[in-house]
């Protein structure tokens, strides 16, 4: 049994259970026989439980989901406007594949329904095309594979993909990656149109000049 009183820190550790079994026994047995330490222990315990109890206060918090997401999108648009002028001046959107706009809107919803075998072979095909074009894979999702290739290889890969019935989309700007708020590519944006307000533009590394980013859809 301890002959000295317990320190404040020891009492605090005891309450937190941050003591060994042996210390715990020792401290508790001291407390049970020492009114001074017992009082200290009770006081700190009460202090901690008072602090914990402020949680019991009912605070009505409005649902901030939609307002927060709106605010987020507003800030994105604001940021986009700052970058907009050089981006718009230089960007040009080229879309390949018949009926792309229709396909695009249904991709996210239906992409995962496609049979996995079919998907896998398509994935393999796409990867091999990208590899053959010395491309670099940037991102793979259930719906598409995004990669960066040299613009000189663009015609070749477009031809190969077309032969295999694969759709592809280009971000033709070498400095900016452009997508809308939902992360989908923008296919029908006309320069200066109001639709631009939904566009998200991310700067990509400037040493990637002469490269294009493409998405090949499965």
């Amino acid at each position: 049994m301890t002959s000295f009183h317990l320190s404040f820190n020891q009492i605090s550790d005891l309450i937190d259970g941050d003591v060994s079994e042996e210390e715990k026994r020792e401290f508790l047995s001291h407390i049970s026989s020492c009114s001074i330490c017992k009082k200290e222990y009770d006081t700190l315990s009460r202090c901690i439980s008072l602090v914990y109890n402020i949680k019991s206060e009912q605070i009505a918090i409005p649902d901030i989901c939609s307002s927060t997401i709106q605010l987020y999108e507003k800030r994105c648009r604001k940021r986009m406007y700052m970058k907009r002028i050089p981006a718009i001046a230089a960007s040009c959107f080229i879309v390949f594949g018949v009926g792309f706009a229709v396909t695009q809107s249904s991709f996210n919803d239906n992409g995962s329904i496609i049979a996995s075998n079919n998907n896998l072979s398509k994935t393999e095909k796409i990867i091999s095309f990208i590899r053959d074009s010395d491309g670099k894979i940037l991102k793979m999702t259930d719906n598409y594979i995004e990669s960066q290739i040299s613009s000189s290889k663009l015609e070749k890969i477009r031809y190969e993909l077309g032969k295999n019935n694969l759709k592809m989309e280009i971000f033709n700007h070498p400095f900016y990656q452009i997508s809308n708020m939902k992360g989908k590519n923008y296919s029908d944006v006309s320069v200066g149109s109001t639709a631009m307000s939904d566009v998200k533009i991310e700067k990509i590394s400037p040493n990637e000049k002469g490269k294009v980013i493409i998405r090949v859809f499965k």
């Binding site: 404040f8 820190n9 605090s12 550790d13 937190d16 941050d18 006081t43 700190l44 009460r46 202090c47 901690i48 008072l50 602090v51 914990y52 109890n53 402020i54 949680k55 019991s56 206060e57 605070i59 918090i61 409005p62 649902d63 901030i64 989901c65 939609s66 307002s67 927060t68 997401i69 605010l71 987020y72 999108e73 800030r75 996210n108 999702t141 997508s179 708020m181 939902k182 992360g183 989908k184």
Partner: protein, 190 residues
């Protein structure tokens, strides 16, 4: 309906599904709001800051590595956001609300004599006094006591959230508790 876990929601958000993010907000808005509210003791201010925190989290999401729990990561963004907010606020206010001192330099204030030491103060009053005393704590103490004694986080979690080692976590908890205990004693609450 099965409960979708954070990681799955996050990957959806990163896929471009911003709407999925509302699941994250719904799940954590109460926790974040309360933390902020206890730091600033102002409802409207806390609401604005809470929104800002969720926007910051959303923007930082691509940098989230799954080495820690999402909630721990969220906590550290939240704690830092509050710190920075306070710094900015103090910079622009003419009279600093609180002078910044190290852990060692706080004096235990006991100048208040106990008012009606015999009376047990009723619950509503005690809640108000505790909140008031928490809001008057030195920043470091308020921050760590919110994490430990209100949110019940472990020493390890606090260590990674605050970016300080375990022994410093313990030291700060000890000092903060001692400080607050003396304040609540002076107010006749304990």
């Amino acid at each position: 309906m099965s409960k979708i876990d954070d990681i799955e929601i996050i990957s959806r958000v990163l896929e471009g599904n911003t709407d999925a993010y509302s699941l994250i907000i719904k799940k954590y808005q109460d926790m974040v709001f309360r933390y902020v509210y206890y730091q600033f003791n102002d409802y409207d201010e806390a609401l604005d800051i809470t929104q800002d925190i969720f926007i910051t989290v959303m923007e930082a999401l691509p940098s989230f590595r799954q080495e820690s729990k999402f909630s721990t990561w969220l906590y550290s963004i939240m704690v830092n956001h509050c710190k920075n907010y306070r710094k900015k606020k103090n910079r622009y206010s003419l009279v600093p609300l609180q002078s910044k001192k190290g852990d060692d330099e706080y004096e235990i204030q006991l100048e208040d004599s106990r008012e009606n030491p015999e009376d047990r103060i009723i619950t509503e009053d005690s809640l108000r006094i505790v909140k008031e005393e928490i809001s008057k704590l030195p920043d470091d103490f308020r921050e760590i006591l919110t994490l430990r004694d209100i949110d019940g986080l472990s020493y390890n979690e606090i260590s990674s959230i605050l970016g300080i080692n375990l022994s410093n976590v313990k030291v700060r908890i000890h000092r903060g508790r001692e400080y607050l205990k003396n304040r609540l004693y002076a107010r006749g609450l304990i």
